[in-house]
Symmetry: C2
Subunit: 453 residues, 2 copies
């Protein structure tokens, strides 16, 4: 009897499949990394089923790769060792909303937008917004963040408790429902960002927030990237609680204008969002506008109405598409370094020079409040020279960041794309990480070939 038949014995035939279309769907993510088929896809419905599958796979030394929505950006969910792709789409229940505790208990297959739809009924929202409608399980696995982390923190800040199934089938809880704890080692923070290499999440308790009374959006254009970043420094130093603050560089605005036939000022642009009371927003926006003016801001627009806000941010939302659309047949490679805030302006200027030197087409957008910025490159995977130039550019950006106290990945995670930088970034600490991996997954069945190679 093949191991797949045994899996059918465990889960039933409907939730164990080798259907080619399903296998193909689980062979890739949204990145440029080479796809690889799993041997079988399973759809567990409970932690106990996940535990049974794990125990089985561990005994048989079969690779298990957890799969949410497949929206990862560094090959995280690609099952390079074949084996089992464990799809959590049937574990997609919002289990409990606790408005007074600002908490929600969910299954890992719940998506960000699904969760926010449910929370809206309670006047609450889940803050982490990586753009894609990822599952919360996947977001926790990569410690995702995005545009709102400057105000509300990253995924790790918003996961209060996890139920985790370990490689040997043990089911543990890593935290509690309290706002703080000094009891035992902080396993929650360790499992968040472990990219499926230490265990599979079967339940998450997440921190949520009250929907702000009012929201305001602004767009501000500047002569130089430094002017824009200095504006951000002054806004944050003054304690203005911006909810989002994004930078898009001049070249990227030009691409949007080409793509959308718009006439946005082709200069470094900040996209800002404010959350608060109507009264406080009035104060915040005036303050921000004043600071922007001191740094040579050439245009400052703001809107409160939901539709007008979306239009104001249109260039930001369309930036990736503007490049994708103009690059048929190419694949997107997104860099993800993060530097100390004080290094950001220089880093972005340096990145733009490096892109131009490489001869590649590339957008820059930055979660500037965090010191995190992306270079979005469109590359032809069949053009070896182009791939090599993109790799070299990526390596340059990482090297630049690491030399200045930065990290190779601010929010996308390591997957396979950032593996080669792990030793350089972490030094001897990488051995400590590997020893934890070894102790929890001695047979190496959990998402093998990721983070450590």
């Amino acid at each position: 009897m093949s191991y797949i038949e045994e899996l059918v014995g465990l889960l039933g035939s409907e939730r164990v499949t080798t259907n080619p279309t399903v296998l193909e769907h689980h062979s890739h993510d949204e990145s440029y990394h080479t796809p690889h088929l799993p041997e079988v896809v399973v759809f567990p419905q409970t932690a106990e089923e996940v535990s049974k599958i794990m125990k089985f796979a561990n005994e048989k030394r079969i690779a298990v790769t957890p799969f949410g929505m497949g929206s990862s950006l560094e090959g995280h969910v690609i099952p390079y060792k074949g084996g089992i792709s464990m799809d959590f789409s049937l574990m997609n229940q919002v289990l409990e909303v606790r408005p007074q505790d600002f908490l929600v208990r969910v299954q890992p297959g719940v998506t960000r937008m699904q969760l926010n739809k449910e929370l809206k009924k309670h006047g609450l929202f889940f803050s982490v917004d990586p753009g894609a409608d990822a599952t919360v399980g996947g977001m926790a696995a990569t410690n995702a963040s995005g545009t709102t982390s400057v105000r509300y923190g990253v995924m790790r800040d918003n996961v209060r408790d996890l139920e985790v199934v370990l490689a040997d089938g043990r089911i543990i809880r890593t935290g509690s429902m309290t706002a703080k704890s000094s009891s035992g080692y902080h396993l929650t923070g360790l499992f968040v960002g472990s990219e499926g290499t230490l265990g599979a999440f079967t339940e998450l308790t997440l921190r949520v927030y009250g929907i702000p009374e009012a929201t305001m959006a602004a767009r501000a254009s500047f002569p130089t990237v430094q002017d824009a970043v200095n504006t951000v420094v002054d806004i944050l130093s003054a304690g203005i609680p911006v909810a989002r603050i994004e930078l898009v560089d001049e070249r990227s605005i030009r691409q949007v204008n080409l793509f959308k036939e718009t006439d946005y000022p082709e200069s470094p642009t900040l996209f800002i969002e404010f959350h608060g009371s109507e009264q406080s927003l009035q104060h915040d926006i005036e303050f921000a506008q004043g600071i922007a003016g001191e740094h040579g801001c050439t245009q400052f627009l703001f809107e409160t109405d939901s539709k007008a806000r979306a239009q104001l941010w249109d260039a930001r939302h369309n930036m990736a598409y503007a490049f994708v659309h103009k690059s048929p047949g190419k694949k997107m490679m997104v860099t993800d370094v993060c530097v100390p805030f004080s290094e950001l302006a220089d880093a972005i200027v340096n990145a733009r020079e490096a892109i131009d030197r490489s001869g590649l087409d590339g957008a820059i957008l930055g979660h500037v409040g965090d010191g995190n910025y992306h270079v979005i490159l469109m590359i032809d995977l069949n053009d070896k020279d182009e791939v090599a130039r993109a790799d070299k550019l990526n390596a340059h950006l990482v090297e630049y960041a690491l030399q200045r106290g930065g990290t190779c990945t601010g929010e996308h995670g390591v997957g396979i794309g950032k593996m080669k930088y792990q030793r350089k970034e972490h030094g001897a600490a990488l051995d400590v990480m590997q020893s934890f991996k070894q102790v929890l997954d001695p047979n190496g069945i959990l998402n093998p070939g990721k983070i450590f190679g």
Copy 2:
């Protein structure tokens, strides 16, 4: 040659001592737990020296217990296995202030007040305030917090990077200087709160904040604990960014009046602090006062002047003393449970009933924004019955909290006092913690007998 003579060979005779007074100083903390002498106290000056001592102790299987200020509350620094007490008072330099990054690099022996004195020159402050003038190394080791965590987070939220010396002498860095990272396992969060059982910290990079433009303090009295807690719920739900919000119960205010001959209203009282601009504070205080009024507030006072603010909070500051002063010869036992916010009012009412039932004298104060509250008991350690009643009360409070998704310790840590509750709180996750301990400290030399027993 004794191992102490060998240590002298490593560090020189001036920084290795068996002086009885020094040994005695390193035999206890501020808790009621039984003191125990170390065999020797060492005073390293560099990470390299710490590494040398560790390697030596690891080879000889000698216990090493890191020591900061000795202000721990659960016996953390008491060297029950004798051996080496490693005192970090000579590693007390503020190494670098990076105002634009809101970061500071410090050695572990720097104290909270020393750090704030230095930061003040840059218009910055370090937010974590556990009351005692602890060292930042000790605060990181216990994941300390205190009155300000409702706004600025706990120690773990504010440690960006650690240099750690492991049991075998390896020196690692756990993080980076960036605001966020998804690179590798989150070791920083794991080492914070590990209570000296996984390694010794030799450098910390900490998040700091701009000193607020204005500060306002308030004191509000309520008919019942529920009214006070409901006020907190509404204030926090409305997004009023209070910097501190503390509850003191009726019995405790009465004790302060007895001790200080004051006439504070003997009813549940909230002590609040607001940080912001003068304009925003005006708005915040009016809003808070309005909410308090809706919940039956009988007296609401507020002050901006620094001296007047201190006076307004006088009853809060004096509460512990009021009990200590009236209980000569007794030792303080402080409980530290934390519950989900929605459970807090009931938990405090239940705690007061349990204290009264126990026949012990006890204050209740709560970091109510976090769901964390302390019962401060004065006990005669020679009175076995009293000790037994205090233990029983503590166990009752922990049991109550754990049944409601809470934790046995919100901010003091496990040490030896909360060890007996670890299995109940963490279940199978405790085995995972122990496996990490085993892999990093196979000879069990690091602060033995803590957390796991």
